[in-house]
Symmetry: C2
Subunit: 239 residues, 2 copies
Amino acid sequence: MADNTAQQTPTPSRRVVDLLQKRRDELLNIWIKERLDSGDFREELISKKELRHQSRQIIDMLARSIQDANEKDFDASEFDEMRLFLNEISRERAVKGYTPIENATYILSLRNAVIPLLAEELENNSEAVISETLYFTDLLDRMGLVMIENYLRSREEIIHQQRADMMELSTPVIKVWDKILTLPVIGTLDSRRAQVMMEALLQKIVDTGSTIAILDITGVRTMDTLVANHLIKTVTAAR
Amino acid sequence: MADNTAQQTPTPSRRVVDLLQKRRDELLNIWIKERLDSGDFREELISKKELRHQSRQIIDMLARSIQDANEKDFDASEFDEMRLFLNEISRERAVKGYTPIENATYILSLRNAVIPLLAEELENNSEAVISETLYFTDLLDRMGLVMIENYLRSREEIIHQQRADMMELSTPVIKVWDKILTLPVIGTLDSRRAQVMMEALLQKIVDTGSTIAILDITGVRTMDTLVANHLIKTVTAAR
């Protein structure tokens, strides 16, 4: 049923789809030329052939998605394929050494190829030019930002992972002798770390049946009342 | 001299400057309304009054900068004030809880207010509409990306700082008894960390005149030949 309906309405809902399909190669040439001239291209990172191939895939997929989405915006499932493809490209390009800002700029620059040709196609209908321009630039913005969002997410994950690693690294409880533990405290002591430290120490005391615990604070850079308070609490808990 | 020349050419070099100046309040209303309707506004983070004030400053500064820049692009020093102001806004908004993507979207959305009014003003000159649209959207892209660039930079700084902290945290050499040192190894051991660890251990051996060094590797999660090799090197160096 759904397929039948789709076949009954082959007219593009958006004039920009028409343009992306009919003048695809021309658009591609203008877009690639603009990229090569812009100085952002960086020949050592991607070959012209690869850039051309990638750009053609984007234009084709974009035409298909806009057509299928039928006026729905970039959040619609019809753009899922596009989003996945952009994720893939942004990962590949990041490995090659492109920054997320460069990736977004690449996508956004398609506009400079599309808008003049749109104006040419719809010469006698300035309202349509404006409507298509606004629709298409909005779509490109969203696409450009997707490439940045992924990168941001991956950086947040690194920060999060490092924080967790640090928490673990910063509470090493060592059994140095029978029934003797030591806990070297290094760096800055905040409430959360103090609590993790205390828990690790208490657990190890129970596990080993230790009677002596040495708190080595020579590695604490600054010692204020807060840090001192945390240490006192830890000592009290250990007793 | 320079001032005289400036006064002799008061005609805006760009039609969009004309629009930003003459229809400023109308633009502001459309832009604000679009923001409020978009669902991105988040009333709890910024008051309508503040948004209006900030948006008006952006429009005024933009008109001035485009005029002064006289066809130069966003890298020109005439946009320094704008860049500084965007940095300031993005910091303020980050503190309030806006994501960098939301900040960029806010800036980019000014386009939706400007382009239709541009088309209205330049009705009989479709070439000028396209030229002004391309110029202005390109400028907004650059402005939007500035807001993201700052955020990215700050996240990179955190990652860098955490890495340095971890390096320090991960090599605690403890004197547990007279002439006895211990070095608990926790987490993953890479070449760089192994080297820092080795240096810290050797330094402490010399400083304390220790004869025994205990390497505690119970905290090493995975042990491959690389890690083992690093440990053997450390032991050899200590002898």
